[in-house]
């Protein structure tokens, strides 16, 4: 039984079908990415899972609870970080973490948590004086202060510098180790590729695909490129007959092979068989970004028109 199961969710706002037949099954101790453009229905979907909105149709089960009927119990086991939620502007980091800690019967040590998100030096600074990245870290701390068994993070590392981003990633991996189930709403490819066990690609309110980041890329079956140099002359016929190869271009100082499937392995085997010594072999594969583009027809950073 999955830790979080949402089946057949539908939510309409006026004429817009924001969420259309969304089904997500999230296993315990999984980092599950929800990837999509702005306006694709990601936030509405997780708001339904968090019990903030009621779906027009569909059922949700979070750790054995119905988020709408058992809202009170849900709050004790599900931590939520909302996008752009600000807080009491005149309270300090420490006051805020302690305040949110007080809402839970059981939870994390405030100072330890502040240390974990890297805000110890800023703990006496008021919320209104924090930078965007610092405010973001605080909001992550507040989502985790009740030691939730599952957590929803919306645009986790928006506004963080690369260093802080890596820190946050390491922290999430630690959380997963300790048994927490994580839903990560994102449109950051690098983050999703690096962290997520599985990803649901959402576009125009629908789930287009659910898979591991690797398999999403493989499934898109996009061109791969192998480049290498050879010591002597090279006969492209060695590779051209292979099923996986689409084209071979012999240039002045390198050979470029494009194709699909297990391209690198096939090319390497063929070269060995033909006694060709390849130097400086480089392999380029399409990434999640390309796979997303292929799946949805437009890049991630364009807004979804409503």
């Amino acid at each position: 039984m999955p830790a979080i199961a949402a089946h057949g969710l539908r939510k309409r706002y006026g004429d817009t079908l924001a969420v259309d037949e969304v089904t997500l099954d999230i296993e315990e101790q999984e980092i599950y990415g929800i990837l999509g453009r702005n306006g694709a229905g990601k936030t509405t979907s997780v708001e339904i899972i968090a019990g903030l909105r009621r779906p027009d149709e569909g059922t949700v089960n979070v750790l054995g609870l119905d988020p709408w009927r058992d809202r009170a119990r849900l709050r004790t086991v599900l931590g939520v970080q909302l996008q752009n939620a600000a807080l009491h502007s005149s309270l300090t980091v420490r006051e805020m973490v302690r305040l949110y800690r007080s809402f839970h019967r059981d939870g994390a040590d405030p100072d330890g948590l502040i240390e974990q998100v890297g805000l110890t030096a800023k703990r006496d600074v008021r919320f209104e004086n924090l930078s965007g990245g610092q405010a973001q870290r605080l909001s992550i701390a507040l989502a985790l202060v009740g030691r939730p068994r599952a957590v929803i993070l919306d645009e986790l590392t928006t506004g963080l510098d690369p260093e802080a981003r890596r820190q946050m990633w390491a922290m999430l991996e630690g959380l997963r180790e300790s048994g927490v189930t994580i839903i990560l709403v994102s449109h950051q490819m690098e983050e999703v590729e690096r962290l997520c066990d599985r990803v649901a690609v959402i576009d125009r309110g629908r789930v287009l695909a659910v898979d591991t980041p690797d398999d999403l890329v493989k499934r898109a079956d996009l061109d791969q490129v192998v480049r290498f140099r050879t010591a002597g002359a090279f006969d492209p016929a060695v590779l051209e007959s292979l099923d996986e190869v689409d084209a071979v271009t012999v240039g002045e100082d390198e050979v470029v092979v494009t194709g699909r499937g297990e391209l690198l392995q096939t090319v390497a085997t063929a070269l060995v068989r033909a006694d060709v010594v390849a130097l400086d072999t480089r392999f380029q594969r399409a990434g999640l970004e390309d796979a997303f583009l292929a799946l949805t027809g437009s890049p991630i950073d364009t807004d979804q028109e409503q």
Partner: protein, 259 residues
Amino acid sequence: MTAQTAQTAANPRPPLRAWTALIGAETRSVVRDTAGLLIPLGMPLLILVMNGVTNRGGGEINGHSVFEVYVVPLVLTIVVATIGVINMPSFLATYRRYKILRRLAVTPAHPAMILVAQVAVSIMQTLLGVAIGLSVAMIAFDVGLPERPWTALGVFALAAFAMYAVGMLVAAIAPTANAAVAIGLTLFFALGATGGMFGPTDAMPEPLAAVGEALPFGAAVQAIGAAWVGFDQEPAHLIALGAAIVVSGAVAVKWFRWD
């Protein structure tokens, strides 16, 4: 751990210390909002002192000075009106604007808890404002205790409720935090002007004075004044305060939005 444990294990209610922590947080917010702290404490005091030093003497009503009949009730009404009509909606609208209520909705603390905490802090601030105003009035301007203390207390509580209700109405209808402050201030001065804040209502044109007395500010000044000098309460004033609570409260409940 299986999914079933969530059903039984967790006590879903926030612990008691969530309340004290929230009241503490609201107190800090109010204290750190300098203007919001000073106006309800400083403005009534200023009006009290200015009336006191410029307007000694005058006639007596039922053995009480004009100061007791009019200035002290006015000052007490200003305290509750500034807190209820100006400060409270501004805090609530800010919470909504910054999605604080929504943020709280995903913790075990119900967003209503912050409203209760805000009211608790407002009551403390009111008591502080009343204590300062009355102390200065008693020490510097020879004001005594009300002839009918329990009536005075009851009428004052009713006036405070009425002002909070009007404040909730402002918070409910204001589209933005900025609008909440603007509407709150406008309403405060409109109620105050017709209710005697800039001079006794006897000097006003009759219809204007009548309107002012039917509104919560004017009604509160009159009702508190009556209790102070020992007159019977005029039902019209109490009805005016009650109506303000019922009407504003109903509209506020109908229009209030969590986000």
